[in-house]
Symmetry: C2
Subunit: 190 residues, 2 copies
């Protein structure tokens, strides 16, 4: 079932507004005004405010899940796997930072099935990343430092890239990947 152009437009506009003020602070009238129509007209295209949130978040969450599964079950080296995870975050951040911001800040406003579905995906994602780090420590490719700190310090940094990637100019996809991998792998110190 193809999603109509107008619906896609609504989702994009909503994501942008949600990024700025958060899901709860954005009203249907806000979204409508940003599209130069009345709030009631939105309901010709979408079922509810909730549906917009779901469509924004779940699609991206599923993409993360899919690619992460591929990376984990590949036979790349640990460092290459981590580089692929970084690449994944960069790609999605550059393509759809609004939706990513929404996923990060508003996932708790999902309800029922969708909420537990999302939480499950997020837990699996973290568990997969933990597995990569763990393997790396065991096979000697990574330092024997605190595993959880490695996992979360890096993940939280990747997850909030949407907050700053556009602030510094001249940061194309390749430069970003090189700089970040260098930082995580070799650190700041000279």
């Amino acid at each position: 079932m193809k999603i109509s152009d107008r619906k896609t437009e609504i989702i994009a506009v909503a994501a942008r507004l949600f990024k700025e003020k958060g899901y709860s602070a954005v009203t249907m009238r806000d979204i409508a005004q940003a599209m130069d129509i009345k709030a009631a007209s939105l309901y010709n295209h979408i079922q509810s405010k909730q549906e917009i949130l779901v469509l924004i978040i779940i699609e991206i969450a599923e993409e993360f899940t899919l690619v992460m599964n591929e990376i984990v079950s590949s036979n790349l080296s640990t460092l290459k796997k981590i580089e692929r995870v970084i690449q994944l975050h960069i790609t999605i951040t550059l393509r759809n930072s609004d939706a990513l911001a929404c996923l990060n800040n508003d996932w708790m406003h999902l309800t029922d099935d969708q909420l537990s579905y999302f939480i499950k995906m997020r837990e699996d994602y973290e568990q997969n990343f933990r597995k990569i780090i763990q393997e790396g420590i065991q096979n000697g490719q990574l330092k024997k430092s605190n595993q959880e700190v490695m996992v979360y310090a890096i993940l939280s940094s990747l997850r909030t890239m949407y907050l700053w990637h556009s602030k510094s100019k001249g940061l194309d996809e390749k430069t970003l990947l090189k700089s970040i991998t260098s930082l995580y792998f070799k650190g700041l110190e000279n």
Copy 2:
């Protein structure tokens, strides 16, 4: 002017709720219920919902500003300065993670003077951290990698520590500091 115990309590309860659902999604009735009183009773202690937000955010923002200024104008080595910044984030995260979450997610719901005051502090804070990194690159203590990536990758990771520090057990203040500094300074790679 001393803040009454009851007012402090309201602020603490509100911060916890704001952390869970965000400022906009939490109602005065939610806060009241969490304190086993009625919403109207809150107004014996606070002036408005906005005031609660301001009190939560500004105090912490000022503390960050204050300590960061001390660090920048000290004559410590670059690495020691960075370690102090990490220490600062750890201290505040452990002491008041609710307020920190609120600062991170709900600062945009500040208004007028307070909003610009906050933004100014945040910009100064980033500029100060940037200065530390810059110095370090110039005096050879840090690698000559992309400065902005260093600044924001580390800052964003420190800022979201409240999301995970409690998840992994046995992470006391000292272990946390050692693990994080090791990760940022020397990286993952063995």
